[in-house]
């Protein structure tokens, strides 16, 4: 292959992730949503329990949870009269997704360095 022009021949990441309605990285781009994810990493919680620990209103927590759910990061279940939320995708899957992003940047920076330094071979 002579795809030297733009460099990337393939960048494949074949995870066993199901299609998501929204991008989990975008979903994590908000500090309140990251705070919710961190709270849920300690165990299942209801909307009220989450709202008690964050400086935002209960409706705001509900909105963030809906986005996190659409991104495949949390799921909910009924527990009596409450609805409990927990993390969905495993930490392993999330780490794999994160690494995909990192490798893209790594590859680009590596090429720049390798192509602009005297050949050491």
């Amino acid at each position: 292959m002579d795809d030297i022009g733009n460099g990337f021949v393939t960048l494949t990441a074949t995870m066993t992730a199901q299609p998501l309605e929204s991008d989990p990285f975008a979903a994590l781009g908000d500090p309140n949503r990251r705070a919710i994810v961190e709270l849920l990493s300690n165990g299942d919680r209801s909307v009220n329990e989450i709202a008690d620990d964050l400086p935002i209103s209960r409706p705001a927590v509900s909105r963030h949870l809906r986005l996190l759910k659409e991104a495949g990061l949390v799921i909910d279940r009924a527990d009596g009269t409450k609805r409990l939320y927990r993390l969905d995708a495993s930490g392993a899957e999330m780490m794999a997704r994160y690494m995909e992003e990192v490798w893209g940047e790594v590859a680009a920076r590596f090429r720049l360095a390798a192509e602009n330094t005297p050949d050491s071979g």
């Binding site: 292959m1 002579d2 795809d3 030297i4 460099g7 990337f8 021949v9 393939t10 960048l11 494949t12 990441a13 074949t14 995870m15 066993t16 990285f25 994590l28 781009g29 500090p31 990251r34 994810v37 961190e38 990493s41 300690n42 993390l87 495993s90 930490g91 392993a92 899957e93 999330m94 780490m95 794999a96 994160y98 690494m99 995909e100 992003e101 990192v102 490798w103 893209g104 940047e105 790594v106 590859a107 920076r109 590596f110 090429r111 720049l112 360095a113 390798a114 192509e115 330094t117 050949d119 050491s120 071979g121």
Partner: protein, 144 residues
């Protein structure tokens, strides 16, 4: 079972040079956002032998382990265990191969072993998965 991450690309540099830049000159290009100290003067060290350490040395002299070299076959292949930001017991495995092409070389990186993150059952799994999440959100905070 999670499938490996595969990243493959061409570079206008010889196989030898590509291998050398990837390993002994990683300080030049490794993204600062994906390091422990994030300092402008940090050094990334690949000890050039199987069993060698891979670590970051901060400008203030502190050392932070990133992994361990398991395959050292210049200029064709380098393999290592990688546990930057996670516990050593949760290291993933990375193999990078360098092959010659007509006008440079091709780099192929394969990363496997993600299932180790949170592979245990019960409480231990819960704890580890939680840790991975916390690390991930911490990482994310750093890269944006």
């Amino acid at each position: 079972m999670m499938e490996p991450i595969v990243v493959e690309f061409d570079v206008r540099a010889s196989q030898e040079h590509a291998f050398d830049v990837w390993t002994s000159r990683a300080s030049m290009w490794w993204p600062r956002s994906h390091t422990i100290t994030e300092g402008p003067d940090l050094t990334v060290v690949f000890e050039p032998f199987a069993g060698g350490r891979i670590y970051e040395r901060g400008s203030e002299g502190s050392e932070h382990e990133w992994g361990e070299v398991v395959i050292w076959e210049p200029p064709a292949r380098v393999g290592y265990l990688w546990h930057l930001f996670v516990d050593r017991s949760e290291a993933t495995e990375i193999t990078v191969t360098f092959t010659e092409t007509d006008n440079g070389s091709r780099v192929r990186l394969v990363q496997t072993g993600f299932e180790k993150l949170g592979a245990e059952v019960g409480t231990e799994r819960r704890r580890r998965t939680s840790n991975a999440w916390l690390e991930l959100t911490a990482l994310y905070r750093e890269v944006i």
